[in-house]
């Protein structure tokens, strides 16, 4: 078995710890004897929808996000949706999450169209949510959020988690992130995956199943991961 990872727009959209997510996907596959490759596909490149099992799509600065939105409005957006329909898994964080929704509406200027891979939309908000986040999914999720966009879910997307500490999608409805099929969006970096290995393994499993049928990943020694997660959760509660 091998795992083909695409770091989507990795040169443009790679803010604050996104690299840790890609590294975690790669290491956790390799530690199980699964060869993992990472390739960056960027604006102007041609995305081959057959090539990758897993897409990581991170956050970026505003100017970079404009370049990416323009590129996704062309053939690469179509290719990405084809890849998703073909069973590829996607993990998106922050800016990437917003661009996988229907649109991002700023205070001024035109709406940035998204690829509608997630039934969500985002509008610019007045205040910036910055801080530690603790949320509950099948297992606890811990991370750090830094966004002013307010994301709202439509009926086809389910929240990834329920907020305990922090703001999450919009600071109103207690939801954090979105899941639709094998596509995940979230506002958590930190990096997200090192301290939430269960989520990393879930995404890896989804990705491997694209070409291999049912996959059961063997367990790893996650002592360091667990300790880091428990400490981060305790600190987030203490400082809320």
């Amino acid at each position: 078995m091998d795992l083909r990872i695409c770091h989507l727009y990795g040169d443009l959209m790679s803010i604050y710890g996104d690299r840790g997510n890609v590294l975690t996907l790669q290491r956790r596959a390799e530690w199980r004897g699964i060869a993992a490759t990472v390739e960056t596909v960027s604006a102007g490149d041609r995305l081959d929808p057959e090539r990758f099992d897993l897409y990581f799509f991170g956050g970026g600065q505003d100017a970079q996000q404009d370049i990416v939105a323009a590129d996704l409005a062309g053939p690469n957006g179509v290719a990405l949706k084809e890849a998703i329909a073909g069973g590829a898994a996607v993990l998106s964080v922050c800016g990437g999450y917003q661009l996988l929704g229907h649109f991002y509406r700023p205070f001024e200027g035109p709406e940035l169209p998204g690829v509608s891979a997630l039934d969500v939309h985002t509008v610019a908000g007045r205040r910036r949510f910055i801080g530690n986040v603790v949320a509950t999914a099948e297992q606890p999720l811990v991370g750090f959020e830094n966004h002013s966009g307010l994301t709202y879910l439509g009926p086809n997307a389910k929240p990834l988690a329920t907020i305990e500490v922090g703001a999450g999608n919009n600071g109103e409805d207690g939801s954090e992130g979105a899941v639709q099929g094998k596509v995940i969006g979230t506002y958590l970096h930190g990096s997200l995956l090192p301290k939430n290995p269960w989520l990393a393994d879930k995404v890896i499993t989804w990705a491997l199943e694209r070409r291999n049928g049912h996959v059961d990943l063997p367990a790893l020694d996650d002592t360091a991961e667990r300790e880091a997660r428990e400490h981060a959760i305790a600190l987030a509660h203490k400082r809320r």
């Binding site: 443009l12 710890g17 690299r19 840790g20 301290k195 002592t223 991961e225 300790e227």
Partner: protein, 462 residues
């Protein structure tokens, strides 16, 4: 003698009393008096600054501002100035105000004849308007504490605003090798002096995984690099709009670097030889920035080179502490570029690395610890003999080392500063060198611990 307005005088006296009280109780007085002065009357700092005959120099940027401003303070002193200087990392508006208040007499007359201030990127616009610098030095701009400074584009915009607030006769001193910094000089009305490294043999020793800038800051086309020194700093050009690294007026040629320091020859001008007694190519940049600022002030490069040759590093910037025969090398790290520069310096030495490393997530460190995942721990891991890991976010750091490939049995997580230092001493032998990489408040805490154990002096006694 000009008498201060009553309100400013009251603010000055309140600030001085705050300072005296803090000194009496044996505490460092680096920012509180300034806060007192600023909250009562911000004009008091402006008032004192305006009466410095040689004027004010402000140094800002992501990395190297402390070292650069200290080097520059040495440079101007050697050329006869008696400057006031905000030491000990109090680089917000209140720290600048505190330094001015401490220096002034009780009626607001400065005792100094000029000022060298290092200023935090977030405070740069406020400070530029307050003290009206005649020279503004920008060392470099990298991603740093997103939660505090915002995106890199935001920081660059702040620097442009600060430049726009300068008096017309002011000089901008810019790093030619950093495209974001270089662009700040683009629409500047006054004089610009640029510095850089003109030596094709100087390029990054580490794989540069994370660059903040892959695209032209002017037109957004993809930038081409002939040479990368660190992150996005190097020899760049834009194939689309012609934006390119300019030829720097103050340029280092024939750069040689080893564990003890860096030597170079100034290409343009007199061709003075410079010896920087600090390792790492980034310290060559700091020296160049100080020389270029000196040039803006009319100080000869040979004088600047002499001052830099006998430079002593600041708190947490490659400071050496002796403890039970061990040499501890303290390096403050707070963002990926700074970490990678420190790691490159460490790796340029031979032998294995013994590490004490500490991660905190208080406001001054940045509350978001994500940056450790952008730092190149992968380059460091194969050389680590053991790592003692401590701080409020020690577990995040231990996890980072695990994913970087360090075997778990070489990582020791120790809670508590005293216990961490003791653990390091227990694990090492006399004659050993230990590298200490820590964030801002963690460095403060470790330094305090080392001082209490009798190994280092309190930092505000510098």
């Amino acid at each position: 003698m000009v008498v201060l307005p009553a309100r400013s005088l009251a603010a000055l006296i309140a600030a001085k009393l705050t300072r005296a009280a803090l000194r009496l109780t044996g505490r460092g007085a680096t920012t509180l008096p300034g806060l007192a002065a600023l909250s009562l009357d911000p004009a008091v700092a402006a008032h004192i600054a305006a009466r410095l005959p040689k004027g004010v120099v402000v140094v800002s940027g992501t990395n190297g501002k402390t070292t650069t401003s200290r080097m520059l303070a040495d440079v101007v002193r050697l050329s006869g100035w008696h400057p006031v200087h905000n030491r000990a990392g109090s680089n917000l508006a209140r720290g600048v105000a505190a330094a001015l208040v401490a220096d002034a007499t009780w009626i607001g007359e400065p005792r100094a004849d000029g000022a060298i201030f290092e200023v935090d990127e977030a405070s740069i616009v406020t400070v530029a308007r307050l003290v009206r610098p005649r020279v503004l030095v920008i060392t470099n701009l990298f991603r740093d504490q997103l939660d505090r400074y915002g995106e890199l584009d935001t920081v660059a915009r702040r620097m442009r605003d600060a430049a726009a607030a300068l008096p017309v006769q002011a000089t901008l001193v810019l790093n030619a090798d950093d495209p974001i910094v270089n662009l700040i000089g683009d629409n500047f009305a006054g004089k610009v002096i640029r510095f850089g490294i003109d030596d094709a043999t100087v390029h990054g020793a580490l794989a540069q995984n994370v660059s903040d800038l892959t695209h032209c800051p002017r037109c957004r086309a993809r930038l081409r690099y002939d040479r990368v020194v660190l992150g996005h700093v190097g020899d760049y050009r834009c194939p689309n709009c012609g934006f390119a690294r300019p030829h720097p007026e103050v340029a280092a040629t024939q750069v040689e670097s080893d564990a003890e320091g860096t030597r170079f020859v100034l290409g343009a001008g007199e061709g003075a030889a410079v010896r920087v007694p600090l390792p790492g190519v980034y310290n060559a940049y700091n020296a160049l920035a100080a020389i270029a600022a000196g040039h803006a002030l009319g100080i000869e490069a040979t004088t600047a080179a002499r001052a830099i040759g006998s430079f002593r590093p600041a708190f947490g910037r490659l400071e050496l502490v002796e403890a039970e025969g061990r040499r501890l090398r303290l390096v403050l790290v707070k963002n990926p570029a700074g970490f990678n520069a420190a790691a490159a310096t460490l790796l340029s030495r031979v032998g294995s690395v013994r590490l004490l490393t500490a991660l905190n997530d208080l406001d001054a460190d940045g509350r978001d610890v994500s940056w450790i995942w952008d730092a190149d721990f992968e380059a460091l891991a194969p050389r680590i003999e053991w790592a003692v890991v401590t701080g409020l976010r020690s577990r995040d750091l231990a996890l980072r080392l695990k994913y970087a490939g360090l075997k778990p049995d070489r990582t020791y997580v120790v809670d508590g500063w005293d216990d961490a230092v003791r653990d390091v001493l227990r694990r090492s032998r006399p004659g050993d060198e230990i590298d200490v990489l820590a964030t801002y408040t963690a460095t403060l805490a470790l330094r305090r611990t080392l001082s209490r154990m009798g190994y280092a002096k309190e930092f505000w006694q510098d």
